[in-house]
Symmetry: C2
Subunit: 241 residues, 2 copies
């Protein structure tokens, strides 16, 4: 029986990998992942076989990884952030059913957590994570979830807020949230978390409509209680200070 | 100016700390945290001054940490999981405003992420994180958020699902969710994630009502799409496999 590690690499800088993630990589014969993310590791693991595929070919990569593990190899499937949050854990578990493969997930720091740490403490109370990509989820479902999250006064984290093919998604999402929340709602966004060129901004919901975010950006929308404190975005937990 | 690191320790086993978390601890003069969590580190850092407080005295600990940092010490405030998710990041940022202290958050693996990795891949699509503790949030707000999350067909992660003083919270939460979701909805829970005595179960929403969970347990409620696959809890992302 072969072994397949689902490894969350965190935001990209090897410092934000866990000790367990590094150990899983070191004991693997093969590393596979999205081309850009494997490049972030540089030559940290020079003696490993690697298999990378570009964007939109992630299922091919999963099939390849399961096949190699079924042959008896130890394979690490590397995902940015955490493999279980918009990553490859789901397809790999489905594809490895009835195959002779032991799958072990090694959790990593997802962008909701690493981005929050950069901005301050926006997720100190209940929150929702929503992807604005409609490649795999119908836009009507995304819109319904935005409305439900707004009605529940959750803080929100938005993944995939914009891409070249979906330039208007973040603006449309903000317009829906503005039906329920003040235009002054404290918001923030972080681009290239933990990587070269990291950029963070605390702003308002109204300003967020036109923010220059891209697919490497994670967006945070505060609840009604969220405040800007000394330039940081903080959602109070309710302590009497 | 002193420095205060907000360090997310992850689920408890030092292997799930990041390399950056370990580096922050090593460069600190003082470690402070909840008594039980510092004990998980054993004698890994024998030459550090430590300051621990028991449950419910977390604000005292935050004030002490900010005061020590303002005196010029390097202080690591250790939180289980991530400091920014129901942790101490919020109060520390509020208390250190206008103090001569540089605060740096070092993100960690929160229980939503580490528990999901144990159960399979329950968070592959949009999800909400809700604490069932009403110490700092009114129960009516928690109930409203549960209803909104159910209406949006999010997967849910429930922190603090039960304690001695709140034995009925999880059952009441399940009863609310059952107004919107099938009793067969795939659910799961993990106790003592990444620690001695870890225990994980995949179950249904109806069975979850009576599950023997405690304050060291994290609970996962699937969306309508969540399935049990070979004993694991998996929420499909929408790929055509």
């Amino acid at each position: 029986m072969g072994k397949l590690f689902l490894v969350g690499m965190g935001p990209g800088n090897p410092e934000h990998m866990t000790l367990a993630a590094e150990a899983a990589i070191l004991q693997s014969d093969v590393l596979c992942g999205y081309t850009v993310y494997l490049q972030l590791l540089g030559d940290r693991y020079p003696d490993k076989e690697t298999y990378t595929t570009p964007m939109r070919q992630e299922l091919e990569r999963c099939r390849w990884a399961v096949d190699r593990a079924a042959e008896g190899k130890t394979v690490a499937m590397l995902c940015s952030g955490d493999a279980g949050i918009y990553g490859m854990a789901g397809p790999v578990l489905e594809l490895s059913k009835d195959r002779n493969v032991e799958v072990e997930a090694v959790p990593g720091i997802t962008a909701a957590v690493s981005g929050a740490a950069v901005l301050g403490a926006p997720l100190m109370n209940d929150f929702c994570v929503i992807s604005l990509s409609d490649l795999l989820t119908p836009w009507e479902t995304i819109e319904k979830r935005l409305r439900c999250a707004a009605m529940g006064d959750f803080s929100l984290v938005l993944y995939n807020p914009r891409s070249r093919k979906r330039p208007e998604h973040l603006t449309r999402a903000c317009d829906i949230l503005l039906e329920y929340r003040s235009p002054d709602t404290v918001c923030g966004w972080v681009r290239n978390i933990g990587r070269e060129g990291q950029e963070a901004h605390v702003t308002t919901l109204m300003e967020l409509r036109r923010a220059e975010v891209d697919m490497f950006t994670t967006v945070f929308v505060g609840s009604a209680a969220t405040r800007e404190i000394a330039g940081r975005m903080v959602t109070p937990r309710g302590y009497q200070l």
